[in-house]
């Protein structure tokens, strides 16, 4: 008996099924070949267009200089470590603050009206103002107040500004997540005697957070890039290092090095987001 003709459970496959599976395999093989071929042709076309551009020689000298790349890389990497630190400190702060703001907006008791109004105002303002502007205002405005205890270190100010800006987005993501939980869940929790807070804590939030993990990760990716914006208030991070190098040596290759580092950091996060989304889709389908 030829291989592949026995199904699970020892059932012998019919000739029709064997033929059907052979066709499916052939089709899958053909799809794979078409995908590979079209990718190669596409890449070759892009390279051909770029390399044959009239200014290519000058661009290559300015952006693709291996010697400049090797020379600048250690400094750019050192700067990039600052970006990573800013991200690692800002991200948990944003998650906590965003969740708190979302929860405050869900409070219904009249006592909390001022808090609720404040939360609404905060989200309206910081979602509207461009992140770069928030960084400039916080970076130059806060220390100028000369208040006791206000930090004047640029990295701290950068973290504060990014947290202020991103918390507004993340709060809205959490709120959307809370809205996706079916009202029947809350009704069931309350009918069992759980209070509003308990229903939120044990029933609504766990489901809401699960629902918003992919959009949250998307915001993380965005935050990773936006750490470069703090270069504007004098933080020597990857982009700034590249800039310093580029303006002293008249070579832009360090920008490419910085770009490469950011991409290397965001790609794993992006793939992880895809993986989680696919897993959720699979579970829903199951």
């Amino acid at each position: 008996m030829p291989a592949g003709t026995v199904a699970g459970g020892g059932r012998v496959k019919s000739a029709r099924q064997v033929e059907r599976e052979r066709l499916r395999r052939r089709r899958a093989y053909r799809s794979g070949s078409v995908a590979s071929a079209s990718t190669i042709i596409f890449l070759a076309l892009v390279v051909a267009v770029v390399v044959n551009a009239p200014g290519w020689e000058r661009v290559r000298a300015a952006f693709f200089d291996p010697a400049a790349f090797a020379e600048a890389l250690p400094d750019v990497v050192a700067g990039f470590w600052v970006n990573v630190q800013i991200f690692l400190i800002a991200e948990p702060l944003i998650l906590i603050a965003g969740l708190l703001i979302a929860l405050v907006r869900e409070l219904r008791a009249p006592v909390f009206f001022p808090l609720r109004a404040l939360a609404v105002m905060y989200v309206d303002v910081f979602r509207g103002v461009p992140t770069l502007l928030v960084i400039l205002l916080v970076g130059f405005g806060l220390p100028a107040l000369r208040l006791q205890g206000v930090p004047d270190d640029e990295v701290t100010l950068g973290v504060i500004a990014l947290t202020l800006s991103y918390t507004a987005y993340v709060a809205e993501v959490f709120r959307a997540g809370i809205a996706t939980v079916h009202p029947g869940q809350r009704a069931a929790a309350r009918s069992l005697g759980l209070s509003h807070t308990q229903a939120m804590r044990y029933v609504v939030l766990p489901q809401a957070v699960r629902n918003v993990v992919p959009p949250l990760l998307n915001d993380f990716v965005s935050l990773q890039k936006d750490t470069a914006l703090v270069s504007t208030i004098g933080v020597i991070e990857a982009l700034r290092q590249a800039q310093i190098y580029a303006s002293s040596k008249f070579n832009y290759t360090p920008y490419l090095a910085a770009a490469l580092l950011f991409v290397l950091l965001t790609i794993p996060m992006a793939r992880f987001t895809d993986y989680l989304a696919a897993r959720t889709a699979r579970r829903r389908g199951a």
Partner: protein, 247 residues
Amino acid sequence: MTLLRIENLWKDYHGHSVLRGVDLAVAPHEVVCLIGASGSGKSTLLRCVNLLETVDDGAIFLDEEEITSPRADADAVRKRIGMVFQSYNLFPHMTVLDNICLAPVKAHGVPRGRAEEEARELLTRFGLADKAGAYPDRLSGGQQQRVAIIRALATRPRLMLLDEVTSALDPALVAEVLGVIRELREGGMTMILATHEMGFAREIADTVCFLDEGVLRERGTPEQIFTEPRHERTRAFLSTVIASRRL
């Protein structure tokens, strides 16, 4: 002695009255079935009793205490009432055991160990002992609804409200849920059921109430309601039910 007393209850939605002056008294251990067409106010009445809706006039008394008073502690009232929904509403992120133990532990202060022990006893009693560690989406509709009933039962309620608990189930699974309700009755549980299962209402109810456009048109023993309905609207409703072979 009445356990629950509803007096002249009104409920409005968007300027339209869904309940129009309902009066009802339920004695301890009594089983009341609410019958009537969809939209007649059966579910709304149950939701009002559990304070999931605010009433627009009238009053509800539980153990002679007015629970519809704004001064009443809604959480404390709900702790004395168990409710089961048409769509089960199990918590999908928790196992069956956690679904059942959540309210006893968090709302009633029962120690975790004892709550689990009691939950397992209930699961065994209703033939679901092997499902304790399963998540709701791994259960059939009938199993989910039995878990939902156990979950409500685990808080030791004085009164159970069952809102069309078999309406989302296919006929083969209805029987297992009805079996659980039958057992609750034998245990002396006071219950109000909104139901479309007329045969079951006839079998299990002490009192059948016919709701029609938010008005309680007629109440009586199952025998009286199903064999000699007095109100013309009751007769019309029952004849449509018979025509659709639900009785």
